[in-house]
């Protein structure tokens, strides 16, 4: 299969993620959308890695790194969301605009 198929899929997934980050009000869904973007990147990396054969092995290693970092990131992110919920009784990102003039 040509690489472009994977790239199209990845671009589509990334756009969905961007849309989610920008448009969803629920902080948990925003975090989920970020995961979508990260996985879109992973698809890119793995696709190129497969296409390049032996020379592409680092791409897979990077994908693994991203998965690990994403897990850590989502852990921290959810903890932040929980703390915000305890303080503000809401998870609406539109309401969380305290850091302004």
């Amino acid at each position: 299969m040509p690489v472009s198929y994977f790239l199209v899929l990845s671009a589509f997934l990334f756009s969905v993620g961007v849309y989610g980050v920008l448009a969803r009000r629920n902080a948990v869904l925003v975090l989920l959308s970020i995961e979508l973007m990260l996985n879109a990147v992973n698809i890119n990396l793995v696709a190129f890695s497969a296409a390049m054969g032996e020379a592409g092995v680092p791409g897979q290693v990077f994908a693994l790194f991203i998965i690990a970092v994403a897990a850590a990131e989502v852990g921290v992110g959810l903890a932040v969301v929980i703390l915000i919920y305890r303080n503000m009784r809401t998870v609406d990102v539109g309401e969380m605009s305290l850091m302004k003039w």
Partner: protein
């Protein structure tokens, strides 16, 4: 000069290099490292740092012995150097090493005495507040001294020279809580510094004359006559001035008795065995240059003869046991210097070697006595023979060695000097050699007399002090015995005709200029006889108190007072040099301060105030404040408008971010 060096190098390669001799520059590094370690970590170590110093010096001692044996086994002396820095083409400063027999014997002496003193001090300094610092300074001193010895050029030697000077200053003033001690430290430092100025200028003069600092080259150039005449004589005399300061020769000897304010182990190490012989070492190192420097050696001989006589007389009237030994040291240093002055090179270095052993022994013994009695004064001692048997026996050995009684070490070296003086007087009919010969004979007599007096007053008769004296512990007695054994045995290295010392150490360029030929039994017999008479006389005078005369009411009272007041030299320096300099100088400085400097300062101040006012009114208030206030207002205005961008809404920020990225991607994609 280059061919010269090549020739010298070829000569070096005839004999093979030793295993250790090449690396002897590492030995000064050991105590230097120990200094750093003790200084920074000493207080946290369980033993407060002394074992570091002992280990460094101990290893240094073993290495010195081994490499000396290598030299004695026929390995070549090593000289090499590295460029330190260079200005243009003419002026080049090097640091290097020069390890030959002379340096080797100094290494053995310095590390051996230093090791003994390190061990001894663990007990002697045990309750000291600055115990760790004391060991740090001892290590630094040892490192500086070895650095001085191994130097192959005068500049490097100067560095070590000043290093030992500053360590001596630290250690004399170790008990600085009492003003007396810190004054003694300052006096020692300044007096030796007067000599050091001469040393430094001597280096400059020789550099101007020869264009090199290298000791070997300087000696060689003097020998072949490349440098000579007045400039060489002046250079040599200036170098000798440094030696006069450091080795406490007349008239700069006044600092050494006061230096006894330091802890006794320090007196043993620095002010008897090692640092004060640096001057002897310097003249010994530059001996070929001195030989060709006109009347320089005659000056050396006469100064040394004066020194040995006046110091021996002074030792006779001291009550402080350390001062007796201090004047004795000055007198013996005069002996060594006089030997160099009459050309008895080997005898001088041999006496340096043996004297280090027995004088360190005597000082450490005196320290042991002081430790037991808690007083420096012999009038508080007496009868200690019964209380301190080990100290008594070792001190007796040291005294006999100093008095030059057969078969102790001092006998051999002293008689070589007297013999050398007589030979020079006969051969060259130098007046200075006759002076040296006669004063050496007198001093042999006086030495035995004052040591008998010290022995009698300290160890015989009845105890006159307070409390019960006690023998010192093992850490102090062991070094005493080791040094006592050395004081008995090292003399045999220089046994006439067959002793190996003359093979090791002889003046550069001369073969066996030492004990090997023409040995005469009569001279030693006379000098030992003189010493014997002196001892008998001393016992009669000071022990049995026979012919007790009240010298103060005798016709010789003036002579006694003259000696007791140290020939009024201290007063002369104080009233003749220090005060005339100090007071008019201080008055002049005060006047110039009040009138000239204050005028300048006040004028400047008025001018500054006027100028400042102008600047404040026009520039500061008008221009700068306007600019500052204006820019602040502008910033506030723009901030008021731009603040609405900062909405606090994360998604809006993210939208800007993504939009910007998309924009950049589009731009780069279109731009290709």
């Amino acid at each position: 000069m280059h061919e010269l060096l090549l020739a010298a190098e070829e000569a070096h390669h005839v004999a093979k290099d030793g295993f250790l001799t090449n690396y002897m520059w590492l030995v000064p590094l050991l105590p230097a490292l120990a200094f750093v370690v003790i200084l920074f970590f000493g207080k946290r170590l369980p033993d407060k740092g002394h074992s570091v110093g002992i280990a460094a010096v101990g290893i240094g001692f073993v290495l010195s012995i081994i490499s000396f044996i290598e030299l004695a086994a026929g390995n070549a002396a090593v000289e090499k150097s590295w460029t330190w820095f260079q200005f243009g083409n003419g002026f080049k400063l090097e640091f290097g090493m020069n390890y030959d027999f002379l340096a080797g014997i100094m290494f053995v002496v310095v590390t051996a005495i230093s090791l003994m003193v390190h061990i001894y001090s663990t007990s002697y300094m045990h309750d000291d507040r600055r115990y760790t610092w004391f060991y740090a300074a001892l290590s630094l001193f040892t490192a500086s001294m070895l650095f001085l010895v191994i130097a192959n050029n005068l500049m490097q030697m100067m560095v070590g020279w000043e290093g030992v000077g500053v360590c001596s200053y630290f250690l004399i003033g170790h008990f600085w809580e009492e003003t007396e001690n810190s004054s003694a430290a300052i006096k020692a430092f300044i007096t030796t510094r007067i000599g050091d100025v001469g040393f430094l200028f001597g280096i400059f003069v020789l550099f101007v004359a020869a264009g090199t600092f290298n000791i070997g080259e300087l000696n060689h150039l003097a020998e072949v006559g490349e440098i000579g005449g007045t400039i060489l004589t002046v250079g040599a005399l200036l170098l000798f001035m440094g030696a006069v300061g450091k080795s406490a020769q007349f008239p700069l000897h006044v600092w050494l008795p006061d230096a006894m304010a330091g802890p006794t182990p320090v007196s043993a190490l620095i002010h008897a065995a090692t640092m004060v012989v640096a001057g002897i070492y310097l003249v010994g190192r530059m001996f070929p240059l001195f030989e060709h420097a006109g009347a320089a050696l005659d000056v050396v001989a006469i100064i040394a003869a004066i020194t040995m006589l006046i110091a021996a007389l002074l030792a006779l009237v001291q009550d402080d046991i350390k001062k007796v030994l201090a004047y004795s040291t000055i007198s013996q240093l005069g002996y060594m210097m006089a030997a160099l002055g009459v050309g008895a090179y080997t005898a001088a270095i041999f006496h340096l070697f043996t004297h280090a052993m027995f004088k360190a022994l005597l000082f450490l013994g005196a320290g042991s006595v002081i430790h037991g009695v808690h007083s420096n004064n012999m009038s508080d001692m007496g009868g200690l023979r019964k209380y301190m048997p080990h100290t008594f026996r070792t001190f007796l050995i040291g005294s006999l060695a100093l008095a030059g009684i057969f078969p102790f070490a001092g006998f051999f070296s002293k008689d070589e000097i007297i013999g050398g003086a007589l030979r020079a007087a006969n051969d060259a009919t130098q007046i200075s050699a006759w002076i040296v010969f006669i004063s050496a004979m007198l001093v042999a007599f006086l030495t035995a007399l004052y040591m008998t007096r010290a022995m009698v007053k300290t160890f015989y008769g009845d105890y006159r002090g307070h409390g019960t004296p006690h023998e010192s512990d093992g850490a102090m007695v062991t070094p005493l015995w080791i040094l006592a054994i050395a004081s008995v045995t090292v003399g045999f290295l220089g046994l006439p005709v067959i002793g190996p010392f003359a093979d090791w150490i002889h003046a550069p360029g001369e073969e066996h200029h030492g004990f090997s030929t023409g040995y005469n039994i009569i001279l030693p017999a006379i000098s030992v006889g003189l010493a014997g008479v002196a001892i008998w006389l001393g016992i009669q005078l000071f022990h049995k108190q026979r012919w007790k005369v009240d010298i103060l009411s005798s016709p010789f009272a003036w002579a006694y007072r003259f000696v007791e007041n140290k020939y009024y030299l201290d007063d002369l320096y104080l009233n003749g040099v220090v005060h005339p300099t100090q007071y008019p100088l201080a008055a002049a400085a005060y006047w110039s301060n009040m009138h000239i400097l204050d005028g300048i300062v006040n004028g400047t101040a008025t001018l500054t105030v006027g100028g400042s006012k102008l600047v404040y009114d026009k520039i500061d208030q008008g221009l700068i404040d306007g600019a500052v206030n204006g820019s602040a207002g502008l910033t506030g205005l723009t901030g008021g408008i731009l603040k609405y961008i900062q909405s606090g809404n994360v998604q809006r920020y993210a939208a800007v971010l993504f939009g910007a990225v998309a924009l950049f991607v589009a731009v780069f994609a279109l731009a290709g």
